[in-house]
């Protein structure tokens, strides 16, 4: 899976010494839903082992962009994507790319926790099973345990792995969904407002988790909470009306943005 193409090697070399290498790259990405255009020529890079936050008011195209990264827009009949998105230099919209394999490498966590109506164990084992990642029951047990541990859920559920995943609290369900995504060992995890259905305490736990996961994964997170973007991300991209307004290091974006709209949005003047 991890074959480095020449392009990605070039990117690694050209990205300087301190800057992490570019994991995913969007070039002139546009999306149409039927007649309506939702995204206008967005150029955005996602850097390895960093958290990239996408912010902006509702309907600005940030979720649309996120869903382009693992081709989840394919499930919407009327959606049409143009431009180029690469993962380690490979074009993800190349007809030769297997979308199933792509989604195994670029996992997704959704806005509303959506555990399958199966046991906690089966929820986590689902991905490894369909991709044939475990050769034995013991190996599968190992994957489930380590995924739950990485998601910080193992201690809470270790005695009831066979109970239904839908019986957990909202925050636990969302961490279960994160564990489920981790279990297929993705390289990138996309999170679409993962905390919007959670209370502040559960949110804090998930944010902590995101920060830990950054060591091993590249994360892109859509959020409506400025504080959350500031707390968890290293880079922030501001969207407005389908355009990418500004993108840069989070520290700079929140203290000294270049664009007036970013300034206004961050300080709560609109949005």
């Amino acid at each position: 899976m991890n074959i480095m193409t020449e392009a990605s090697v070039e990117q690694k070399l050209s990205s300087g010494t301190n800057e992490p290498s570019i994991k995913m790259k969007g070039e002139k990405v546009s999306v149409h839903y039927g007649e309506k255009r939702a995204l206008f020529d967005v150029d955005l890079d996602v850097r390895e082992n960093q958290v990239t936050a996408l912010i902006g008011p509702s309907g600005c195209g940030k979720s649309t962009f996120l869903r382009c990264l693992n081709r989840m827009n394919d499930t919407i009949d009327i959606a049409r994507v143009s431009g180029k998105i690469t993962l380690d230099g490979e074009d993800v919209y190349d007809p030769k790319i297997d979308v199933v394999e792509l989604r195994a490498r670029v996992g997704m966590v959704f806005q509303k926790p959506n555990p399958f109506p199966k046991s906690i164990y089966e929820n986590v084992a689902y991905g490894p099973r369909i991709h044939g990642l475990a050769r034995s029951k013991a190996e599968l047990d190992g994957i489930v345990e380590s995924s739950l541990k990485k998601a910080g859920l193992f201690n809470e559920v270790k005695d009831r792995l066979l109970e239904s995943g839908t019986g957990l609290s909202g925050g636990q369900q969302q961490r279960l969904c994160i564990a489920r995504a981790i279990a297929v060992s993705p390289e990138v995890i996309l999170m679409d407002e993962p905390c919007s259905a959670l209370d502040p305490i559960a949110t804090a736990r998930v944010e902590e988790l995101i920060d830990e996961l950054r060591q091993n994964y590249t994360i892109v997170i859509v959020t409506h909470s400025m504080q959350q973007a500031a707390r968890v991300s290293q880079r922030t991209a501001m969207f407005h009306l389908g355009y990418l307004v500004e993108e840069g290091a989070t520290d700079k974006m929140f203290t000294n943005p270049d664009d007036k709209r970013t300034q206004d949005y961050i300080t709560g003047r609109f949005g």
Binding site: V100, R103, G107, V109, P117, Y126, I130, T166, R180, V184
Partner: protein, 462 residues
């Protein structure tokens, strides 16, 4: 005559609506906002009181009069009727009524003609009475309600309360009808079980009620209890239902999966109604199809394979019945599959599952309870189906598991038992009610189980 009265009352109601509305508006000099209730509600209020009580009186009158009239006739002609049994008295009154108002008369005699004349005069009187009562009720109701209409009068509350009472009455009628049907089934069945012990009925394996009165040597009325065993009928029903579900369950389910998850919008817009047309075909047409097309076809195949297929086979009836219930299964399953949240499909796709993996491992397990209940409803539909079996599966009660032979079902036997000129209280006719009761219990159980399963399913997503 009373028909005119009802029409007249409806016209009065329409007029009263208009009058009430006008009066309400006039009472506030056109400033409608000052009224407590809308002008239309005042109109409705007046209309309800002008026509409602009178219509209610007419309904009561039509329920009560026939009984009163018959008892008056029976009383006046008690000397002629003395010595007659209950059925003969009923026949006498029925004939008198038929002679008075036109209809089929059994045979006429002077006593009946006299009775008919009396009947006619009584009926004329009672019609005049109901006209008078209705008009008085209507006028007084109108007067009372009209005098109440005023700016502050709460017509809306009255109208709402009357409407609620009307809706309650409607649902009570539906429930009472069901209870009545069940009770009549139970009572007739009890009469049957007095002649044939229920264990012989439930567990007997021989069914041939056509020979209920064995031979000429037996005494009149002696019932051979051993020929009312319902097991062969039940087995036939199960066999045909089983074949039908074997056809309908996979085809219906696959069609539902295609429609809900694979078909494009335009295909779905055409395919779904077309599939549902199958449900609109009268079952008797399916019967032709089974008897004239499918059964000979199966027999032809059977002959070429060296099998002996009866021209009326359980297989043909079962397969056609299966085709008939495909839309049930597919339409209900389609609904429950669509009810599985899109977020679960997205979650599965986001982990890299293919469409078929998502459907097999996430959507179908989540929809399973609903699908099961769809299947159970289809089964109860198949069990109750009659026409196809009458035409395609035969009438001979045959205890067999071989789908190539002719079998018969509970419903078909009910039809054959009640068709023909049998005495109504013979064991043969009453057996139909006992069969109906068993059938009712089976489908009721299936429906209750199906509803329970659906309820459990609903709890699953918050």
């Amino acid at each position: 005559m009373v028909g005119y009265l009802v029409v007249l009352l409806l016209v009065l109601a329409a007029a009263a609506y208009w009058i009430g509305r006008t009066r309400a508006i006039a009472s506030v000099n056109g400033d409608v906002a000052r009224l407590h209730s809308l002008p239309g509600q005042h109109g409705m209020f007046l209309a309800l009181f002008a026509a409602g009580p009178a219509l209610l009186a007419i309904v009561l009158w039509s329920l009560v009069t026939p009984g009163i009239e018959s008892s008056i006739i029976a009383d006046r002609f008690s000397s002629e009727l003395s010595g007659m049994g209950v059925p003969q008295v009923e026949a006498f009154i029925r004939d008198a009524r038929a002679m008075a108002f036109g209809g089929l008369v059994g045979f006429a005699d002077p006593a009946k003609e006299a009775a008919a004349a009396v009947y006619k005069s009584i009926h004329t009187t009672s019609t005049w009475i109901i006209w008078a009562v209705a008009l008085v009720l209507s006028a007084s109701g109108f007067y009372w309600a009209y005098s109440r209409i005023a700016q502050a009068y709460r017509a809306r509350h009255v109208v709402e309360r009357v409407l609620r009472a009307f809706l309650i009455a409607c649902s009570v009628v539906a429930i009472l009808t069901t209870i009545g049907i069940v009770l009549s089934l139970i009572f007739e069945s009890l009469r049957f079980f007095q002649q044939v012990p229920f264990y012989k009925f439930l567990f007997g394996t021989h069914w041939s009620p056509q020979s209920a009165f064995t031979g000429a040597g037996t005494e009149a009325g002696a019932v051979n209890q051993d020929i009312f065993g319902m097991v062969p009928l039940f087995a036939g029903t199960l066999l045909i239902t089983f074949i039908a579900m074997l056809v309908a369950a996979p085809i219906g389910l696959m069609a539902a999966i295609y429609l809900s998850d694979y078909a494009s919008k335009s295909v779905r817009a055409i395919a779904k109604p077309v599939l549902e047309i199958l449900a609109g075909i009268p079952t008797v047409v399916y019967g032709f199809f089974a008897a004239l097309t499918v059964a000979p076809y199966f027999r032809g195949i059977g002959e070429s394979l060296g099998l002996n297929v009866a021209s009326e086979s359980a297989l043909a009836a079962g397969v056609v019945m299966g085709i008939m219930i495909i839309p049930f299964v597919s339409s209900l399953s389609d609904d429950v599959i669509n009810a599985v949240p899109q977020s679960l499909r997205d979650g599965s796709a986001g982990l890299g599952a293919t469409k078929s993996e998502t459907i097999r491992k996430v959507v179908l397990p989540a929809a399973l309870p609903g699908i099961v209940s769809a299947m159970l409803l289809a089964v109860s539909r198949a069990i109750g189906e009659t026409m196809i079996v009458v035409m395609a599966a035969g009438l001979a009660a045959n205890l067999t598991a071989n789908p190539l032979e002719a079998v018969t079902t509970v419903t078909v036997q009910i039809v054959t038992l009640l068709v023909g000129d049998q005495e109504f209280d013979s064991a043969k006719t009453l057996a139909a009610f006992a069969l109906g009761l068993v059938l009712f219990c089976i489908t009721l159980t299936l429906n209750i189980v199906a509803l329970r399963v659906v309820q459990k399913y609903r709890e699953q997503y918050d």
